[in-house]
């Protein structure tokens, strides 16, 4: 069952030095001022707010991230390990993985379940699979699904912390989809057709060649495919979908999908892999 996407919300900005303040963008995106929250939560609110037009109260939240709230956790660890102090209550609360979901639910007045999905290489794919399963089995009618990556400290500190090469640009991102099981009369941007995981390359190859033959239009190589990207592109014989991010962030797959849903046409197959040689594919149509 293809799941309709009725709205997307994106924020993706390069960070060259110190990340910029986000308070005003939160107010613009959500229509309200949300106080005493950190950058990760602010980013979640910006993206979710931009995707939340006409969102019903029974909407479930799925928030995925490659590293969670790295900013709050780094500050808490600095307080504990360097300053030898207990973290302030508010800082500690913001390290709780589901804190961003709480603020999204409260700000947008949502009452259904919320889920935080942490996966370094497959954050989008894992969160999307959870949402699709819940929607296909009828447990969830409406979902807001977002992927958030935050820059902790300065751009240089962050690049070092996440193991990037010197001089590689970094970015913060918050990409969200509003999914509706039955959108009724609402305009539909596109559909999420499939999310599939493969234990190894042979499994992926067999399935993806079939998918590509059955109506594929574009291939988007995931950021962790590395040198395999060109080989997959030849093998699948699909045009490459070009989507240039502002800089490195863990969950670039979410940015590519939102980009295609906003300006693409046809069917996009996004493929990624993790260092253990497992693969994940997402297929969307517009």
């Amino acid at each position: 069952m293809a799941v309709p996407v009725v709205a997307t919300g994106t924020y993706c900005e390069a960070v060259t030095d110190t990340p910029p303040p986000l308070k005003e963008l939160v107010r613009e995106s959500t229509g309200t001022s949300v106080r005493r929250v950190g950058r990760f939560i602010q980013l979640a609110l910006i993206g979710a707010g931009r995707a939340a037009g006409d969102v019903p109260a029974n909407t479930a939240i799925y928030l995925g991230s490659g590293r969670g709230d790295l900013d709050a956790m780094a500050e808490a660890l600095e307080t504990i390990c360097v300053e030898k102090q207990a973290p302030r209550p508010l800082l500690f609360i913001n390290t709780v993985s589901n804190a961003a979901c709480f603020y999204v639910a409260r700000t947008l007045e949502l009452q259904a379940a919320s889920h935080f999905v942490s996966s370094r290489h497959f954050a989008l794919e894992s969160a999307l699979q959870s949402a699709l399963v819940d929607m296909r089995c009828g447990a969830v009618d409406s979902a807001l699904l977002g992927i958030v990556d935050v820059v902790a400290g300065t751009a240089a500190e962050h690049a070092q912390r996440v193991g990037l090469a010197a001089g590689q640009a970094v970015a913060e991102a918050s990409h969200w989809l509003q999914l509706q099981r039955d959108p009724g009369a609402r305009p539909v941007l596109g559909t999420v057709d499939a999310v599939e995981f493969f234990g190894d390359r042979a499994q992926a190859q067999e399935r993806l060649e079939k998918l590509a033959r059955n109506g594929g239009t574009f291939f988007a190589p995931g950021q962790y495919l590395g040198s395999e990207a060109a080989d997959w592109s030849r093998r699948l014989a699909l045009d490459i979908w070009r989507s240039e991010p502002a800089g490195h962030f863990d969950s670039r797959a979410a940015g590519v999908l939102c980009d295609f849903l906003e300006r693409g046409s046809g069917c996009l197959l996004h493929l990624n892999r993790d260092p253990r040689g497992r693969y994940a594919a997402v297929v969307v149509s517009r």
Binding site: A86, P89, N98, A113
Partner: protein, 236 residues
């Protein structure tokens, strides 16, 4: 619940679900800073309750679709999960959001509150959360069934408490008893909740297990150990 849905929709045949909580300074100092730790014992719903004890725990569960020939094990009858946006650290003290998730789980299971044989409470022994939980239970149940708490035994294992307490609860029922917390909430105090005081004998039934976490995550499970004819997902 996510794993069970993946089994139900045929994506997986079986799932291995793991829960783990280990001591760490961030949690320990964070809870200390919030003033939520007791210096004595954890006494949920008790007039003398003054906070929680953190715990460590690791648990594992294999779930899969029940077969016609299957005997034994536990089955998920129904479940619900909702967001409580009253406060990031506390449930709505009027009990309304807690009552909502319990009612949603009962609806999902096609059951009434009167058919629940026992309740495993979340029971953090904090002043406000126990107040909210007792108010919620009293809105759902005309008369409370036997109520038991596991955190006085293992502490609060935070994100892993859902699985840790499910596995312990089921293991105790399988061994023929409902867990007791002697001396804790032996009499119904201002919250009107009495905890099971002796290991009460129990064999079969349907049990409600409740969880109300930070970030407003409310969840309620109904598990039973009597197989049904309709396809259900076996737990363990």
């Amino acid at each position: 619940m996510a794993a069970i849905r993946q089994v139900e929709c045929g994506l997986l045949e079986h799932a291995l679900v793991l829960g783990a909580e280990l001591y760490n300074d961030v949690s320990a100092l964070g809870f200390h800073g919030l003033g939520l730790l007791t210096e004595s014992v954890m006494a949920p719903f008790d007039a003398n309750r003054d906070g929680l004890v953190l715990g460590e725990g690791v648990s594992a569960l294999v779930i899969g679709r029940a077969t016609a020939s299957q005997t034994g094990g536990f089955y998920l009858r129904g479940s619900a999960s909702t967001s409580d946006t009253h406060s990031i650290t506390a449930s709505n003290p009027d009990g309304s959001t807690i009552a909502d998730v319990m009612r949603a789980a009962l609806d999902n299971a096609g059951m009434t509150a009167a058919q629940v044989d026992a309740v495993k409470v979340h029971g953090t022994a904090s002043l406000s959360n126990d107040e909210a939980e007792s108010a919620g239970m009293q809105q759902v149940f005309d008369r409370l069934p036997p109520v038991c708490a596991l955190k006085p035994h293992i502490g609060h294992t935070l994100g892993a408490c859902g699985l840790n307490e499910l596995v312990l609860f089921c293991a105790a029922v399988e061994a023929g008893f409902l867990v007791a917390t002697p001396g804790i909430s032996a009499r119904a105090g201002d919250l009107g909740v009495t905890l099971n005081q002796e290991p009460a004998p129990v064999s079969t039934g349907t049990f409600m297990l409740n969880y109300f976490g930070f970030g407003g995550n409310n969840a309620s499970l109904l598990v039973g150990n009597e197989p049904r004819r309709d396809p259900t997902v076996a737990v363990m």
